[in-house]
């Protein structure tokens, strides 16, 4: 498998949200607007790339039986770093995402990629895998956020498209997230079945 293939794999064919169905908690929780989804996606992408890099480097010196706790500690360290840096330099984004940043630690994608890819591959492919998976996650969260924001409050990236009196409140709430996600997965499955 070459690096480009590894990279595009995460973007679409094995998209974490639509194909692997990993990391559902932030997917349903933060995607009330396109901006929130994008911010969460990028934060996760950063953690994914960094943890994949480090885990690919140290995988050989970690005994098999303690690999999961070791991975979790490494991931948690990066998440804390992201959390602190965001609070210090991007306070506005931190205010709207703050609650969900610590949840990246338990996001299945990060541990999943560490276990399934980074621990078995070399550093460079692992970085590309993190990049592809991270951008795939960002893309799907942004898309889901955009759909919910548009249907729920008539906006797109905070730009008002139609008066929000006509918005469907349910799409801002959790049930709307499930409905929108269900339709998106159906569409993606349909497209994948054709290829």
């Amino acid at each position: 498998m070459n690096n480009l293939k590894v990279f595009t794999n995460g973007l679409f064919r094995e998209n974490p949200t639509f194909a692997l169905l990993l990391g559902m908690c932030p997917t349903l929780g933060v995607t009330t607007s396109a901006g929130n989804g994008m911010g969460m996606g990028l934060a996760t992408a950063f953690v994914l790339i960094m943890s994949n890099l480090v885990i690919a480097l140290v995988a050989n010196i970690i005994p098999d039986k303690i690999r999961i706790p070791s991975f979790i500690v490494i991931i948690a360290a990066f998440v804390t770093v992201v959390d602190l840096c965001m609070a210090a330099y991007l306070p506005a984004l931190h205010a709207s995402l703050g609650l969900f940043i610590p949840l990246i630690v338990v996001n299945c994608i990060v541990l999943g990629r560490a276990e399934a890819f980074a621990s078995k591959n070399r550093v460079i492919p692992s970085i590309f895998d993190g990049l592809g998976m991270g951008l795939g996650f960002t893309f799907s969260l942004t898309l889901l956020g955009a759909i919910r924001e548009f249907l729920g409050s008539g906006k797109m990236f905070n730009l008002s498209i139609y008066p929000d009196n006509f918005g469907m409140l349910i799409f801002v709430l959790a049930p709307g997230a499930f409905i929108a996600l269900g339709y998106l997965i159906a569409i993606v499955n349909r497209i994948r079945a054709k290829h």
């Binding site: 050989n60 500690v73 840096c85 609650l99 409050s153 008066p163």
Partner: protein, 226 residues
């Protein structure tokens, strides 16, 4: 790929210890780097909120002249007086409520010297996005923002007039309440709990300010006698 380390007791203890040591050292280092900017960002947010809720420009430093007071239920209210040439322009009160839908809500409320609300700013909340989180603009006079469709096709959708602005109201003479509870402030659609919590925080600030004003006016004559 090379051979993995064997999973014996010595290896496992050593590796896990080293990993946790390095990770915690890295986190501690980043914490020491960011502690100052985080504190600055918090302060800047507070100063910005005070500027936002006090009408007109003040020339003193409200942060330096601030005082704090305990409320009966154990919380703390902070008062920031804003003055221009020694004359009181208004007081910003940092207030809170524990009745929010998602926990504590922190507000900065600006009061004119006569006790009416000048403006407010939401400092921190964990209310539902899209519902309770609307409180940052709901209780201000409506500024209708035209949507793209309305601008392109040149029509306007009339919305129902809501009586939700708290600006200019005086919670000292009459405590604010949502219309559902017999008050005169319309609650946020589908977020009555958040609205009640919001008004609770405002009333608490007004009561605190009233209390501290009575205290000062009670002590001033004594000072004169001395």
């Amino acid at each position: 790929m090379g051979k993995k380390l064997e999973s014996n007791f010595k290896n496992m203890v050593l590796v896990l210890f080293t990993i946790t040591l390095i990770s915690s050292a890295a986190v501690a280092y980043v914490n020491s780097l960011t502690a100052e900017p985080i504190e600055e960002a918090k302060q800047a947010k507070q100063v910005k909120a005070i500027r936002e809720v006090i009408p007109g420009k003040f020339d003193n430093d409200p942060m330096a002249e601030a005082w704090a007071e305990k409320t009966p239920d154990g919380g703390i209210l902070e008062f920031y007086p804003a003055k221009k040439e020694g004359q009181l322009l208004g007081t910003a009160v940092k207030t809170y409520t524990n009745n929010g839908f998602g926990g504590t809500v922190w507000l900065m409320v600006g009061f004119n010297p006569d006790g009416t609300i000048a403006n407010y700013s939401v400092l921190d909340h964990k209310e539902t996005p899209g519902l309770g989180s609307k409180m940052d603009s709901w209780f201000k006079p409506t500024q209708k923002e035209k949507s793209l469709i309305e601008r392109i096709f040149g029509f306007e959708v009339k919305s129902v007039e809501k009586q939700s602005s708290v600006i200019g109201k005086n919670p000292e003479t009459q405590a604010l309440a949502v219309s559902k509870d017999g008050g005169e402030v319309d609650a946020i659609t589908a977020a009555t709990i958040s609205s009640r919590a919001f008004l609770d925080a405002i009333n608490r600030a007004a009561n605190g300010l009233k209390g501290s004003r009575e205290q000062t006016s009670a002590t001033t004559p004594e000072n004169k006698n001395n």
